[in-house]
Amino acid sequence: MNVRSQVSMVFHLDKCIGCHTCSVACKNIWTDRKGAEYMWWNNVETKPGTGYPTAWEDQDKYKGGWERKGDGIEVRAVGKLRGALTVFHNPNLPTIDDYYEPFTYTYEDLIDSPEGSDQPVAKPISMITGNPMEIEAGPNWDDDLGGSAVYAANDPNLASMSEEDRESIFEIQKLVFFYLPRMCNHCLNPTCVAACPSGALYKRGEDGIVLINQERCRAWRFCVTACPYKKTYFNWGTGKSEKCILCYPRLESGQAPACFHSCVGRIRYLGMMLYDADMVEEIASIEDPKELVAAQRRMLLDPFDPEVIAGAAKNGIGPDVIKSAQASPVKKFVSDWGLALPLHAEHRTLPMLFYVPPLLPVLAKVTDNGYDTSMDAFLGALDQSRLPIEYMASLFGAGNEGVVRYALRKQQAIRMHRRMITVGDIDASEVEYALAEADCTPEQADAIYRLTTLASHEDRFVIPPMHREEAIELLGDETPLEAKGAGVGFRRGPERGA
């Protein structure tokens, strides 16, 4: 057993209101620069929908992630040999048009225009060329469906569904959508790292954050193709790739990342997870993608297990980090309760951002009093759901409906349980039956309810101590050479090369 620690995340999608506060917080801190205007390290998209960059899930086009070859896995489009063939021109690289051309407006015209008979107008201009432009795409062009079937119908997840199911999504009376906030998953088996020919991308040993060493990136651009989530971006100004850094300067000073901290719906949870690094390759190479979600859960270790604690200590993971892992809300949602699932696990990157699939767009019907929490609904809702379970399984189950059903049923049972307590119009025997069916106990139901609805800042973000006080040693002679290569030390401003 090779115990490693990983800062991991859970997003509870039933609570996401699609306000984009997370995206704006991130943008204001990190990507409000030339060459990075188009980047949204964190974005929120509407599902069903094509998202950002457009149709990023269409791997026939972008060829991201790993693919199974023989008994093992290979980087799909780039990697060692295929990378050597495409280094001069990468056919699977998204261009700025797959995202959107960044724009601003000629605001000065409003002030500087000479007196005339018409009101002056601020015209849209491109932030790349400075020329006037027609705005034809934006960071969130199909937000709230933006014309429904026109955009949402191109969602790649719909391809595997039956014609009937597809049509049912777009029936106007039943029109249904939910929000999917996305950011770097800080995967355990990141394709971006594996595809970087310069070795600029790396995973931090202590917390598993995936970073790009800006001083080693040479703009070979393979990381952009390799990431199946399209969460590495190419800065066209500096000629360097960039990505979410999980606000590590904030984490190191005990603060939650900006997108987490600012989340209005309090949908985000962050905590340490322990995993067995020796199992990464074996789990990522499992033959049937439908087993990936369960398999990934298997490699997450129990921080209360004395054997795990001993293994962690052997790898230099301090007792304070183990304590933090024991209190991790992510561990509860993922390992203990089986509620949170990885996004598109079929790409075999073992993402460490988990989503609690949303129940509301699934529930069959709305009664006068709100959503139907009756026994009939519990028994039938998932099969008559407004958003087919198939669709959810394509996103969160790598095609496996079982894990999605499990998570949704449990949420339903908890709703019945809480309604019995607060409203009292459901029979206790029915609730008991529902909880048992959903593999849940009343105690667990209450714990899930509390962490979902009442959790404080400290419950949601259990930030492991990162020991910045020891950072001075990073500048000393004891620093491993490769860590010096990670950009530790005194820096200069990022000026574009000639």
Binding site: T95, G130, A194, S198, A219, W220, F234, V280, A498
Partner: protein, 224 residues
């Protein structure tokens, strides 16, 4: 005197600049080491420029290097006319690829609005130097036949004399004007090399081929 400056001083100046600036830049300003790829802004036309250019230039560089390192073997190879033709045709084909590529890249840069607004003076300098070098090189190849034969007899001994620090410029000053321009252009290119984006060739990701795929870096020293 001018010949001495061009063929005995310039080469050393170029090499010293090349070594000093690239090492200095790599050590103190690694952020600027980038191919500065513009594929993200324009991808379709890039294919027709970048691929032929790179394939061509790498073949040509390898050819020049082989001639420099193994002049005797090249001469022996060339002793059979058919083999000489094969070598010359290959080299010319590479030069054509290279020319098509660089012209394609230049046209692309100035016909694509996004790139035109994003072109620096160094970019233009690089285009001028490379285009000059390719055009003079092709002209020499077509006008002064057969280059692969006389290169080993005249320029290779000259280059080796430079390498031995006993510059003997006799052979090179007697070459035709175009050949001399090609030699001077080469040294100017070497001198300018490390000031430009061409440095990406120095950090070509060859070690990637044997590196383990995943890379984990520990910030603190691990107790083992």
């Amino acid at each position: 005197m001018l010949d001495l400056l061009l063929f005995a001083v310039l080469p050393y100046l170029a090499i010293v600049l090349f070594l000093f600036v690239s090492i200095q830049r790599y050590r103190h300003d690694p952020f600027t080491f980038s191919s500065l790829s513009s594929q993200f802004l324009e991808s379709r036309k890039l294919f027709w420029g970048s691929v032929p250019f790179h394939v061509g230039i790498m073949t040509l560089f390898l050819g020049h290097l082989i001639g420099f390192m193994f002049p005797r073997q090249v001469m022996i190879w060339n002793s059979v006319p058919l083999r000489l033709f094969i070598l010359e045709v290959t080299a010319l084909a590479a030069a054509v690829l290279c020319l098509v590529g660089i012209v394609g890249l230049i046209v692309r840069r100035f016909t694509t609005s996004r790139l035109r607004h994003h072109t620096s003076a160094t970019d233009i300098a690089v285009y001028v130097l490379l285009l000059f070098q390719i055009v003079t090189g092709m002209w020499v190849a077509l006008g002064l036949r057969w280059g692969s034969a006389w290169y080993t007899q005249t320029l290779v001994p000259y280059l080796w004399s430079l390498a031995r620090l006993q510059p003997d410029i006799q052979r090179v000053v007697e070459l035709g004007l175009l050949a001399r321009l090609h030699v001077i252009g080469a040294f100017v290119l070497i001198a300018a090399f490390s000031f430009t984006r061409l440095v990406h060739a120095l950090v070509a990701p060859v070690p990637y081929l044997w590196r383990p795929l995943q890379l984990v870096i520990w910030n603190r020293v691990r107790p083992d």
